[in-house]
Subunit: 153 residues, 3 copies
C-alpha cells in the first residue's frame, strides 16, 4: 500500500507544501539526501499547539503536534518525488526540539509521536536515527519543531 493510501486509511491528508520563504528553502538536496527545514505544527497557516510542555501544551497535544510536523515534512518531500514514494530509500534522521518546562523530561515520548507515524506510513523505510531535546522556546511559540533527512533515489 502506498503512502497516500495509508494516509487516507488513517484519516490523514498531506497539507499544501509550504511556500519558499524569503531567504531559505523548505528543503535542500545533496547526494541523494533531502534535508527538510525545521517544521512547525502548522495547519492551515496556524500553529495547532503552542507553549512549553506540559504547562501550556499537554503531552498528548505535543505528540499530536509532532505528527503534524511529520505531515508538513512529507508535504515538502512529496512534490520532489512527483508523489512516487517508491523513490524513498529511507528516513535517515529526525531532530526533535520540544519547548519544555524546566522539569519536563519526556521529550522522547513527544518524539515518538513523529517516529511512530513515520513507521506507520513508510514501514521499515520509515525507521530513522533520532535526537530529541528540550529547548527554551521555538519560533512563533510552537511547542515542537522537527527537522528531517530523507534518502531518495
Amino acid at each position: 500500500m502506498n503512502i497516500h493510501d495509508k494516509l487516507a486509511e488513517l484519516g490523514l491528508t498531506l497539507p499544501d507544501p509550504p511556500k519558499a520563504v524569503a531567504a531559505y528553502v523548505p528543503a535542500a538536496q545533496v547526494n541523494g539526501m533531502v534535508i527538510v527545514s525545521g517544521q512547525l505544527p502548522m495547519q492551515d497557516g496556524q500553529l495547532t499547539v503552542t507553549g512549553p510542555v506540559p504547562s501550556k501544551a499537554s503531552l498528548e497535544a505535543s505528540e499530536r503536534a509532532a505528527r503534524t510536523c511529520v505531515l508538513n515534512a512529507l508535504a515538502v518531500v512529496d512534490p520532489l518525488l512527483d508523489g512516487d514514494w517508491s523513490r524513498l530509500v529511507r528516513v535517515v534522521r529526525i531532530g526533535v526540539f520540544v519547548a519544555s518546562d524546566p522539569t519536563f523530561t519526556d521529550q522522547h515520548l513527544v518524539a515518538n509521536g513523529a517516529s511512530e507515524l513515520l513507521v506507520k506510513l513508510l514501514g521499515e523505510q520509515g525507521r530513522h536515527a533520532r535526537a530529541a531535546v528540550g529547548v527554551q522556546s521555538l519560533p512563533l511559540g510552537a511547542s515542537v519543531e522537527i527537522e528531517f533527512t530523507f534518502q531518495v533515489k
Copy 2:
C-alpha cells in the same frame, strides 16, 4: 561578481579563520560536503553580543550576531576552496541556536540575519534548509551559535 567583491561592496571583510582547537576542528569534509562547527559571534577574539534575547541582547543585536557567525563560517570555508567560491555548489543547511528568554519566540527573525546575508553574498547558491530554535544558554555566553553544511566541488 564574486564573494570577495560582494563583501567589499557591503563593507564587510572575512576575519582570519579560527585556529583549530585542541580536540575538534573548524570544519570536516565528507562526500563533497563541508560541515562547519558551530560558530559564535566572535570578532577579533571577542564575542560581539552576549546573553539571552531580548533581555540582554536586542533583536537587532542578535541579527547582527547571526551575520557575524556567517562571516566566521565563510572564513573557515574560504581557505578550503583556495578562495575560489565558484567551487561552491550550495549552502545546504544552517542550524541556528538563539539564547532565548522563556517568552522570546522570534528565533526565525534572528536566523534571517544569517539567511539573508548568505543569499546576498552567494545568490541562489546561498539558499539553504534551516532549523532555528531557542536555547537556554550558549558557550561563553554567546547570544547566537550557527552550524553550517556547504556542498562544494
Copy 3:
C-alpha cells in the same frame, strides 16, 4: 594500537550496544556515513548523571557523562564495523546538548569530555566538527545528550 586496546589501556570497555527501540534505530547508514541517534549517559540501563549543569550535576560529572555518551555511540558503531575500526574514515560531527542552568556557559568544556576521548581513542580520525549548546532539559532528565556522524568504508 586499535581502539579496543586503547579502551583497555584507559580502563574502559564498550557497553552492550543499545537495543533498537520501537520506532527509531540506534544508527542509520547513508552514503558511507553512520548517523548515530542521540546518546544519553546510560550505563547498565541507568543514567549516570542527571539534572542541569551545574546546579544538579557538576562540570566534572557532566564531562564524565559526555564520555559515557561516546562509549555508547562507539558501542553502536562497533558491530556495524564487525569490530574492525580500520574501516573508520573519520568522526565527522558531534552535536552536544547540555542540560543547563540559565547562567551556565561552559558547554564547550562539557563537550571537550567527548571530543578529547574521541581523539584519544581514534587519533587524527577522531577529530570532528562540533556544535555544543545549552538546553532546557533532556529525555529522562539526562545532563548530556550527544549525536554523532561517522564516515566509514
